[in-house]
């Protein structure tokens, strides 16, 4: 009961009101939800303050966030247990996080769009939501021509059956636009805010504009479920159907490649059908009037393939419908909260870096499911660009972040490769070799999906050599698998299919390597990560990866076949790696030193697509490179590299690196930080951070660059924080850039939650279980804190 000041509140739902309306009292959330309804606010973004456990429980049950408890009776622990996000002794301690502060902390991304322009399409990608099994993006609020609402289901592809046609992701049915009769109700300006903390996207017309407000999320708690709530006060009706054919926007040419079916029994459903897959959506919606506004709650479940899957989808839909919007949102938010708790990275002193890393983490943490398998595409499920194909981006750039934060998701990525080992065997056989070779690009089947020609910017039809020659991916897949094992300690995978994968791919290398008369071993005619030099001999990166791979595989095969292990070790020892003993530099490939000595600064500012600017032939004849190649070996296998070579290779190769690959700047940043040059590193980190947020590629509308996100995470964790796993021990050797005051990192290492806190004078490490760790080379027992005293690190 209010004891005064009632006129200060726009909405009051008190005991009297609850009794009149038949609302159950606390701890039931009904009164809070009724108040939220009247205030037209979303619980997930609404602060609840209470001083009683019943009130905190009600807040939690209603999905409110944050919940602040005022501790008047010294029972803070009980309040926390009940679900309080924070406990204060006085309300004055509560500093409300306003929108701008949230944005500065990188927790929200807000964009305004004036019309259906380019910024709208880029924002569609930035605001794409996924749970790793389905992805959703676009504008459902209006039916503006040229914009699309896009749903994608992992693993559902079409095409590729005709010569020259590319297998590509199959767009699923769309959620029906919320306008009616085809007439746009798009406000003159729309404001969209993505709350990264809760994985919720809100869309509102600008103040003084009428139109539809929406809130949507893809449930992390129930994979495949899309939830949308819309409100309007313009008196217009909602569309009768909740599904419609895909609205593909700029990709509309694709619509010829699939058919669309729909029906209403027993549940409203629609399906897109390609020659390879079927994506079915089942959906329901319900409208009601709330506080003078009309509200629509719409649920949709997407599944690929088969009646059985549709039945499962219907069950999930019915269950979700029973729970209702608020409960679904509450559980979704709890899932996000858990993911952030394990993985968040806080960067104090630099809002730009903070926003970049949180945005990257958001998409990394939702790009792969925690069950089944995950072929994480170069653009994830955020767009149709790159056809949904899986590259080494998944294994080497994305997976390490998940292995160290969300191991179950990393495991599903490993599973994708394990289940495609037979296809890799077939590829090796087709090329006249033993063992297994993974394709440069793959889709669902695991067969090679790399395009073979392209009409390039010189107007010529040119062959694409990556599929035939960029073979290092087989070693990359193994690196990713063993990195997963290193971080998680999950050795079971190496006793099963993982063992076969490591050995079969090693067998491929053993049959692929040429041993010369002098006994030196070579890999001829390959392509390294620097794709400006297409077919080269003895690419240092490939050879070093293969050498390492053969040695690791020899350990696994030893028990069964000592001779094979011996042979692999001998091959590994004989493989040339291009190291020049005098300069301590690795030659990128045989003959690289003889190419035209060209520095990128002589041509243009980085980043630049030097192949586009200069043409393929010119860059092939010069020392200009696309991205780390020798440096990539330093990044992945630091212990395989000669002492002193990182510095020498950075000095030589960085001025020659165009950074023309979206994979490049973050990895260079990581290496510079490791080499003790963190301020230089930060300049490249900034480029990677802006890549999608500022659409530096001009292609973000086609989907987000997940590998760049993975690279950003690696730059922070492996680079600036200097984290590495060496023989089961977590090493931490940080080097922070001047602009950063403090860095906090959440990790999961071998089943133990780890918290790192780093500033310029101090490193603290804590864990929720036993941890083998070294900080600046000193063995520590957690919790531990090291401080810098006269330039040397000492345990406090």
């Amino acid at each position: 009961m209010l004891s005064g000041g009632a006129d200060l509140f726009d909405v009051v739902v008190d005991g009297v009101r609850a009794a009149e309306s038949g609302l159950p009292g606390r701890p039931d959330p009904a009164t809070l939800l009724a108040a939220a309804d009247e205030m037209r606010v979303v619980p997930a973004r609404t602060l609840v303050v209470d001083d009683a456990i019943a009130g905190i429980t009600a807040g939690r049950g209603g999905g409110f966030f944050p919940i602040v408890a005022v501790d008047r009776h010294c029972d803070g622990d009980a309040l926390r247990t009940a679900g309080a996000d924070a406990v204060v002794s006085d309300l004055a301690e509560v500093a409300l996080l306003d929108e701008s502060r949230n944005s500065a902390l990188g927790w929200t991304i807000t964009r305004q769009e004036s019309s259906a322009g380019a910024e709208g399409r880029v924002n569609d990608a930035l605001f794409a939501l996924s749970d790793g099994t389905v992805g959703v993006r676009g504008d459902v609020e209006t039916g503006v021509e040229g914009r699309g609402w896009l749903t994608l289901v992992a693993g559902a592809f079409g095409g590729g059956t005709e010569d020259g046609e590319m297998v590509r992701l199959l767009p699923g049915p769309s959620l029906a636009a919320l306008d009616t009769a085809g007439e746009s109700v798009r406000p003159s300006a729309m404001r969209r805010t993505l709350d990264l903390r809760s994985g919720v996207l809100e869309c509102h017309p600008q103040p003084d504009d009428s139109g539809v407000s929406t809130i949507r999320f893809v449930s992390l708690a129930r994979p495949g479920l899309i939830v949308l709530r819309a409100e309007r006060d313009d008196g217009r009706p909602w569309p009768e159907r909740s599904l419609e054919p895909p609205r593909l926007g700029t990709a509309r040419g694709l619509s010829a490649q699939f058919t669309y079916e729909e029906g209403v029994a027993p549940t409203e459903w629609a399906a897109t059908i390609s020659d390879r897959a079927r994506v079915t959506a089942v959906s329901c919606q319900q409208s009601r009037s709330v506080g003078g506004r009309s509200r629509l709650d719409r649920l949709c479940v997407l599944r690929a393939d088969g009646d059985e899957k549709q039945a499962t989808a219907e069950r999930l839909l019915n269950e979700a419908e029973r729970l209702g919007f608020d409960a679904l949102l509450a559980e979704h938010r709890r899932h996000w909260s858990a993911r952030w708790q394990a993985a968040d990275i806080e960067i104090e002193g630099d809002n730009r870096s903070q926003s970049a890393i949180r945005f990257a983490l958001f998409h990394l943490l939702s790009c792969a499911p925690t069950r089944g398998e995950a072929g994480v595409a170069a653009r994830g499920l955020t767009g149709l660009a790159y056809a949904g194909h899986v590259f080494w981006d998944a294994d080497v750039f994305v997976a390490p972040a998940l292995a160290a934060t969300l191991p179950a998701a990393a495991r599903t990525m490993v599973e994708y490769r394990l289940r495609r080992l037979d296809a890799a065997r077939r590829l090796a056989t087709s090329r006249g070799h033993a063992g297994a070779r993974f394709p440069w690009e793959s889709a669902w089947s695991g067969e090679d999906a790399t395009p073979t020609t392209v009409r390039d910017h010189d107007g010529e039809v040119v062959p694409i050599m990556t599929g035939s020659h960029e073979e290092h991916i087989s070693a990359d897949v193994v690196w990713s698998l063993l990195n997963y094992v290193d971080w998680t300690g999950d050795r079971r995978v190496l006793r099963g299919a993982g063992r076969a994968l490591v050995i079969e791919t090693a067998r491929y290398w053993a049959s692929r390597i040429r041993v010369a008369r002098d006994g030196r071993a070579h890999l001829d005619a390959v392509m390294g990560p620097d794709e400006y030099h297409e077919i080269v001999d003895d690419n240092a990166f490939t050879n070093i990866m293969v050498r390492w791979h053969l040695r690791r595989a020899a350990r696994l095969v030893e028990a069964n076949d000592r001779n094979e292990a011996k042979r692999w070790r001998r091959l590994a020892d004989s493989l040339v790696d291009g190291l020049d003993a005098t300069s301590r530099r690795y030659e990128q490939h045989a003959g690289f030193w003889q190419l035209e000595p060209l520095r990128i600064a002589d041509i243009a500012d980085v980043p630049v697509a030097a192949d586009v600017l200069l043409g393929r032939r010119r860059v092939a004849a010069a020392q200009v490179i696309k991205q780390p190649d020798v440096l990539m070996a330093h990044h992945l296998l630091p212990d395989e590299m000669a002492k002193g070579s990182l510095r020498a290779d950075l000095d030589f190769y960085l001025p020659r690196t165009a950074q023309g690959s979206s994979l490049s700047p973050a990895i260079c940043a990581s290496l510079l930080a490791r080499a003790g040059r963190p301020d230089e590193a930060l300049a490249l980190f900034d480029i990677a951070g802006a890549l999608d947020l500022e659409d530096l590629t001009g292609m973000s509308a086609g989907g987000l660059h997940l590998a760049t996100f993975g690279g950003l995470w690696q730059a922070v964790v492996f680079g600036f924080a200097g984290v590495r796993v060496v023989r089961g021990v977590l090493h931490v050797d940080p080097a922070l850039p001047t602009r950063w005051n403090r860095l906090r990192i959440g990790l999961r290492f071998r089943g133990v939650g780890v918290g790192l806190l780093v500033d310029h004078e101090r490193v603290a490490i804590e864990s929720d279980g036993p941890l083998r760790a070294k900080v600046h080379g000193l063995p520590v027992r957690t919790p531990a804190e090291l401080v810098k005293v006269n330039g040397a690190w000492r345990t406090r």
Binding site: V454, R455, H457, V608, V612, G615, G660, A701
Partner: protein
């Protein structure tokens, strides 16, 4: 009916200007009309127009002022002018043409000496080079739609050069498609247009592409000031093209 206004004088290119204006008028469903600004007692332009069956207005005064003044008339859709190239190798469009193209609020069709005009009655294919900026794309979009409406084949060209090279180009097999789709969506979302992506020095590539594509007209949007990068392209194309060039001002 809208007019394509051919500003003609006694120069040898006048006959071509009249021909090109007539072709443009047929292409756009407009009527050709000639204008001669008399500076002396010349009669040839009037005779030329009469022979061609094109109505001509003769006025007196400063040619630049009179042509710009007439171009303001609501009926005038396009102004056609002849160019001079007397100071090669440095291209010079001629005093009057330069001034009019910089001041007229309507599209200006520039006819080079020795122009190759289409053998058909209408323009068959127009090449529209786009740099990828809101201003120039907006300038040309009305023309693009008009050509499309009138059944003229349109090839849109973007040339990647030092100024416009992308920062990132991951996998050529995908990037060409992805980048091209987004470029089109942003700058020329007109169904039915051909799109070409090329690399190199902008002006030579435009001229080569026009020849390769069999274009009989090049249309460019521009800001009407000679100081910007785009103006360098305009100056180069206008100075070297052998087919008519349609310049559309950004705020026209």
């Amino acid at each position: 009916m809208k007019q394509v206004l051919a500003a003609i004088d006694e120069s040898p290119v006048a006959a071509h200007v009249l021909d090109a204006a007539t072709t443009m008028a047929r292409t756009l469903g407009a009527e050709p009309r000639a204008l001669h600004v008399r500076e002396g007692k010349e009669e040839a332009p009037v005779a030329l127009a009469r022979r061609a069956g094109v109505a001509i207005d003769v006025v007196e005064g400063d040619p630049i002022e009179r042509i710009v003044e007439r171009s303001d008339h609501h009926a005038v859709r396009v102004v056609a002018l002849g160019m001079r190239r007397e100071h090669r190798p440095r291209p010079d469009t001629g005093h009057v043409a330069s001034a009019v193209m910089s001041r007229a609020k309507k599209p200006v069709l520039l006819i080079p000496p020795g122009v190759r005009l289409p053998t058909a009655e209408r323009f068959g294919r127009v090449l529209i080079p786009l740099e990828g900026s809101a201003q120039t794309s907006a300038a040309i979009s009305a023309e693009l739609r008009a050509f499309h409406r009138e059944g003229v084949a349109v090839t849109v060209l973007h040339v990647m050069s030092l100024d416009t090279a992308p920062k990132f180009w991951d996998q050529p097999g995908h990037a060409v498609q992805t980048w091209g789709a987004e470029f089109r969506a942003r700058w020329c979302d007109q169904p039915g247009t051909e799109f070409r992506l090329r690399r190199g020095d902008v002006v030579p590539v435009i001229l080569e592409t026009a020849a390769m594509e069999g274009a009989d007209l090049i249309a460019l949007g521009w800001s009407q000031t000679m100081s910007h990068n785009r103006a360098r392209v305009v100056r180069g194309v206008v100075g070297q093209a052998e087919i008519p060039v349609l310049l559309t001002p950004t705020d026209g």
